[in-house]
């Protein structure tokens, strides 16, 4: 009777340990990685960095370039462009995340402009004697 109790308890422990190890080594990293990836893609800092980079690098096109960037369909942003800086603010549903905004610099002249509730960004550069740049955004469902 006692021998049986010990064996079942040990087997139980081993099963729990095995399950937990599988959870911590396979499932949790995947879950965490998905959360981090999602947060990384949609965070204000990442979106602002990407946009500032795209705006600057659009200038390296020697004829014409169109860049469109959709970081996420689920998260909307408000943005403003001022003094070669882009300020991005995500419109998260949770109140504590609303204040997380990011300002990133870019290196060309863009008209001062701002918009709210958008998630799809368009950057266009054309050369017609001189380089001209256009930045637009809209809400994509």
């Amino acid at each position: 009777m006692m021998k049986g109790t010990i064996t079942s308890e040990v087997i139980g422990f081993i099963l729990i340990v095995f399950t937990m190890i599988t959870f911590f080594t396979v499932m949790l990293p995947k879950f965490l990685s998905t959360i981090i990836e999602l947060f990384g893609k949609t965070s204000a800092e990442n979106v602002a960095r990407q946009l500032a980079g795209f705006i600057t690098i659009s200038g390296s096109a020697s004829y014409k370039i169109d860049i469109d960037y959709l970081p996420s369909r689920d998260v909307s942003y408000s943005f403003s462009i001022k003094s070669r800086n882009i300020i991005i603010k995500p419109e998260f549903k949770v109140s504590y995340a609303e204040k997380a905004s990011s300002t990133q610099p870019f290196a060309i002249n863009l008209t001062e402009y701002g918009q709210e509730g958008v998630n799809h960004f368009f950057i266009t550069k054309k050369i017609d004697g001189e380089s001209s740049y256009e930045f637009k955004a809209k809400k994509e469902e």
């Binding site: 010990i6 190890i21 960095r49 020697s62 290196a107």
Partner: protein
Amino acid sequence: MVKALMSSRQKKKSKGLIISLSLILGSLFVIAVIGLIFWIFVSRILEVHVAVDEYTNERHAINLANLLLSSEKIVYEKEGKLMRGILDAEKLDKIFSREDSFSVANPIDIGIGYPNSITIVRILDLESCSASGDCKGWAAVLAGPTSLEGLSMTKFISCLSEHVKLDVGSIFRWAVGGILMGLWQPWDLKNCVQNTIPASIKSLFTNSEISSEGFPVLIKYPNSDLHLGRMSVAVGEFL
């Protein structure tokens, strides 16, 4: 009676065995869980932070160089098309300064440059270099708009020019003893940052091979000669 006593002793022995096995397994499990949590957080979260924050300044220098390599302000045009990477010597003469007239104190605005930053662009004609490494070329200081409170780019540039003017030759020197010459010296920057920039403002300056070695370019002269050259871009940013 004796049998009952023996049986009770055996039970006690078995109970001790169960407790110690459970304790050992439990402890091992707790250690494993703590170790795993530590490993997951260190490996995943640390990786994200490093990827986001590293080398912003160097990336900006690369972006600026790419922008300049396609800018109609300095690039050679043929039949209305910009020839990326081929610089027009006539355009350079109009916008940039030659080695005999360059001064850090005279920044120019060509609509290219990061805000709250100073950029030194150097273009060297490598086919004109002397045996001592001095080359002919062009240089310019590009200034972007300033939006940081308390930051005076004029003061900083003025300080930098006081130090760099003694050493202008080094800007047009490609290499000395096989070592590529950088556009600015760390001791000049440190001195000027300490004296002219408020302590609350963070300063970042490019200091890698990208800014020293530069990008390969061709320089097109009015007589149709094409010379091999290098364009270096050094960026100093204030955050």
